[in-house]
Amino acid sequence: MVSELGPSTSGVVVSATASARPVLTFRNFSLRCDPSDSSIGFKNVWNWSFLEGKKTAVISNNLFLKYQLVGALAGHVAPISGQILFDGVIGWPVGGEGGLDSKLRISHALDFLIAVYGDCLEKSFVSMDLFWDLLSRMEIHSGLIIRDLSLLQKDYFFLALSVLFSFDFYLIPRTKFLMSKSAKPLRPFLLNQLEAKTLVSTSVNKSFQREFCTDGLVLGAFGEILFSGGLDEAIRWADQNLEASNSADSDDERFGTGLNLLNSDSSDDGTDDFI
């Protein structure tokens, strides 16, 4: 699943053990591991890659580390050191509700995302007609304003947006709604989009892991790679060797990605004090 690289010597990414293309490479990479101390990072910096087509469930007892990892991959969190090299398009966290202002209409939101990620629609399995059809099942139409949607409609709409585009690298931090009954119409399309694509998930939902992931990566509290291999072996290894953790998907919500990225509506043109 991961190919170890030597310490950074050049910008060229070399897959040492597999023929698959590295989609994402860590170079001398280290993240914060402790929410109360910004100086505590990885014991050993990361120099390895996620290979194309691998779907990895990241297993760790350190919830903050999982949040930091997803945040760093999504570009919301700066690492303590090192960098991430991407070869392809990385999507935003699947089903993530950040990014779109609640005052936007559905059509505005879609126009915006199409302008930004239009190239990811060309290879998508989901056509625009199908997308609108999927939305209409939840009575969501283009003229609605996002803030007027019910909670269920919102979750469905944001998940549908993630399903619409085809990325090279998917991030799935939370699966509470994805694995719910309401999201059932969208799951097959997401599975289709994920075909031959790379996925990293920090969800602890076992049924999600079995349905969507093929590999497991067990991380220690300070970023140590304790185990890397098939999903079942990784889960078994984690069950036997990691301290028992009662973490559920809802626990991850303490560290939502991109929570600080909110629009402000306060006066911003200085008219309040121009004299």
Partner: protein, 277 residues
């Protein structure tokens, strides 16, 4: 695909992203305000009308023609054109800079990995540019229609000055966006000082040639004054512009933009962190 092709595609995508964020901001205002997208035009327009009213009021008090700019500027401009030409340049700079000083107000789009803080700053500057350009063209058009005296002697210079002001405002704004992360009080003081400097030294109300020679150095350090005066000169080539230089404006714009891009490149991650507010 070769390097040039990838570069071209990358630039095209980045331009599309900036325009998309610009529309995003307009669209969210559209549903969030009673006057919708007109808000971005109405706010600066009411300040400009207030300035024009003030200047006309002073002219009336002095007993001069109510359509003239007052003082020796009467010889070159109608009062509305005089104030509007100063306003559209100085306030373009002010709006971009002051907004940046308040930090990135539009942060949500940063959720998408393809969008960077610079794209948002560019999009906000684009919206200000559009609003003030619309107001300027509207007012100049109205004045020309009612006075039937169209005059634009150097359109090339007018466009160049406008673009140089946009570049300078952008460069200054990027520098200020980092300053805006400091204490709220420092930000507030800087904002007030900047507002007064821009309003009173940028030549919105006065012409440089009207000032005594020994007073001019007190205001000619301000590159916005050079932009304002050069813009007026481009409308009427008879308008005297002593101590005003296009080279100075160009240098200030390019140096500020270059410095700000270096600052941005080395500190981009700071802009992704939580708002200090």
């Amino acid at each position: 695909m070769n390097f040039i092709g990838r570069l071209f595609l990358g630039i095209r995508r980045q331009v599309a992203i900036v325009f998309a964020i610009s529309s995003y901001d307009i669209d969210r205002r559209l549903t969030g305000s009673s006057i919708g997208a007109w808000e971005s035009i109405v706010n600066p327009l009411q300040i400009m009308l207030f300035f024009i009213g003030m200047r006309v009021g002073f002219s009336l008090l002095r007993g001069s023609s109510r359509y003239a700019a007052g003082g020796s500027t009467d010889m070159y401009f109608n009062i509305v054109v005089f104030i509007a030409s100063g306003f559209c340049i100085a306030f373009l700079f002010r709006m971009v800079a002051i907004k940046a000083l308040s930090g990135l107000k539009l942060r949500a789009p940063l959720y998408y990995p393809r969008i960077k803080p610079l794209d948002i700053l560019l999009a906000m500057a684009l919206n200000d540019f559009r609003a003030l350009a619309t107001i300027s063209l509207g007012i100049l058009g109205l004045v020309w229609y009612f006075t039937w005296s169209f005059q634009l002697d150097s359109p090339g210079l007018a466009i160049s000055v406008y673009l140089l002001t946009v570049l300078m405002a952008l460069g200054f704004g990027i520098c200020l966006v980092f300053l805006g992360r400091l204490s709220k009080w420092i930000t507030r003081i800087v904002k007030r000082v900047l507002n007064r400097l821009i309003i009173f030294t940028s030549g919105i109300f006065f012409a440089t040639f009207e000032l005594p020679e020994y007073v001019r150095p007190l205001v000619t350090w301000n590159p916005v004054l050079h932009a304002v005066e050069l813009f007026r000169y481009s409308l009427n080539n008879q308008y005297p512009i002593p101590d005003i230089s296009l080279a100075y404006l160009t240098w200030c714009s390019l140096v500020l933009l270059g410095f700000s891009l270096i600052l941005y490149r080395t500190n981009e991650s700071l802009l992704l962190e939580a708002n200090s507010e």
